[in-house]
Symmetry: C2
Subunit: 327 residues, 2 copies
């Protein structure tokens, strides 16, 4: 079947990863329906679609069906599946702030675990058994267990779970990017806000880790590479008629320290990023990497963008949109 007649539901499609994946799906000619509860996306009161969706429509010159819906609402989900015949679902809708998840565990489990269960139940009832997902944080293990059990219980399901660490950057157009609420939890958006003068100084949490320069090392991945990983995974399911539960890591396999990221950002932007070393943060580890060789072998995917690209695109997005999607 041609991509054009392949209809994909993207949950959380107005979020950071979701929006970039929607863009790549449209460019690969898929038909896309987005649902999002807008808990973490900006929408102007005069529009019915959030700003990032409008921008994607402009960039691609295509229309996106957008439905405001929370995945914890089973009946709303059912209505959407009644109206649309989906071939695949790419599932991003989730709460994802690690700090907040410690304060509001019940909300996190409800949205991430029970919301996913709702989605799976409706998919089962409407016989949509192709699912591509990235569960977040502490709920990750649970959701993967549920998906595994589901695939064991019924051989018709095809589920690909994509694991990755630190998505950064923005679309090269500078039109869509990351738009965090409040103080950013992650390094790159924080640097970006310092670079345009929205924040005074960057705090580095510890420089006594067991790494070459003492600061934490992470496997960063460009958001467009990540989005393409989801598109490739879905195409893999579509072409191979694959079944069962599969897990792939997506990453560059290369780690960068906090100081290296700052350096790369300064080079890409020509801006000086002032920083201050402070105490370690609870829960941080020294280093984490992904081995993405299986994704390369099976899905034919690999990261194409390096740390310089990640910084350059972040800088472009932040310059064009110092206040995110709010104009």
């Amino acid at each position: 079947m041609a991509n054009k007649s392949w209809k994909v539901l993207v949950t959380g499609g107005a979020g950071y990863i979701g929006s970039h994946t929607v863009l790549e799906l449209l460019q690969a000619d898929f038909e896309v329906v987005v649902i999002d509860n807008l808990s973490n996306a900006y929408k102007d009161d005069n529009n019915i679609k959030p700003e990032c969706i409008l921008r994607i429509e402009k960039l691609t010159n295509k229309k996106i069906v957008f439905i405001q819906c929370d995945i914890t609402n089973l009946n709303e989900l059912r209505d959407i599946f009644k109206k649309h015949k989906f071939h695949s679902v790419i599932h991003f809708a989730a709460l994802k702030a690690v700090g907040e998840s410690c304060e509001k565990p019940l909300e996190y489990y409800k949205t991430n675990v029970c919301g996913t269960l709702n989605l799976l139940k409706v998919m089962r009832d409407f016989n949509v058994k192709c699912n591509c997902t990235n569960p977040y944080g502490k709920t990750k293990y649970m959701v993967e267990e549920i998906l595994k059990d589901l695939c064991t219980s019924n051989q018709e399901w095809s589920v690909i779970s994509l694991r990755y660490f630190n998505p950064v950057g923005a679309h090269s157009s500078g039109q869509i990017g990351e738009d965090p609420n409040g103080v950013p939890n992650n390094l790159m958006p924080y640097i970006a806000q310092v670079s345009v003068g929205k924040r005074e100084i960057l705090y580095i949490y510890g420089n006594d880790y067991d790494t070459p320069d003492g600061t934490g090392v992470r496997d960063y991945i460009h958001i467009t590479d990540l989005a393409m990983g989801h598109v490739k995974a879905m195409i893999y399911q579509k072409i191979h008629n694959s079944t069962g539960f599969k897990v792939f890591n997506l990453g560059t396999g290369k780690g960068y320290s906090v100081l290296e990221v700052i350096q790369a950002f300064e080079k890409a932007s020509g801006q000086k990023i002032p920083y201050k070393i402070v105490e370690r943060r609870a829960g941080d580890i020294s280093a984490s990497y992904a081995d993405a060789s299986l994704a390369n072998k099976e899905l034919g995917w690999q990261a194409t963008k390096n740390i310089g690209d990640m910084c350059l695109d972040t800088w472009k997005w932040q310059q064009n949109n110092p206040n995110g999607y709010k104009r």
Copy 2:
């Protein structure tokens, strides 16, 4: 506060473990409200309460408030908490058939994980933060993780999770006991049905395990001991004003093989139990025990009934109620 004015909600209170715990709670003078969806309990069309609840009322000469309600229904739960001011919740409502859970994983996760989340949310909203629970099977780990996170997020919660393996037997009155639907999954109810001629022969799944006589060894616990474990745990919370998440094993610390259980049952009942050795069952392990020393030390609890008591009470219940609660 006197037990008399201490109001306890028991979810799944019409089930096997729930009903025995309700009985012990009433005998310790607590006020009890039972909710149950009756998915696994017999109710006569002419009554509004299930048979086991009626029998407990008769045995104790006390009244039980019974509400038919499914814990996956958040609004119904809310209404119940609006109407009743609970001091503690003992949570048994769960699906618990291991075989079925492999066929219907979504239903199991929904009831056991999301149902528990509903309950916790309503408890939080109504400031009832004393919870005693026994999560089942594959959802056990998830529910314990949720409870741990919840206790970490808010120091007012007091949660005791009780772990145990194989509850058997019945109340010594012979009036309440285990009433499985269809073919029993577990050894003791199967033996009991063979003993009264409801089933022809007992199948033993493998006699080549690494145990003294080759058949599987399990830590059986008398249902009344188990019920008392829940009562003691709740009293512990009540008296010590305890907070945080605690786990206790409940067990006898003694294992019995299938052949030993048969022998004990034959001795207690005077009936011959014909059996046949067949192939191992998938998923069975050779032996499992509980070390209940912490429960003894902290809760002042210990098992008081031996394998002979377990068999005798099972036999009494089965003789009096060859068809379970259906008269």
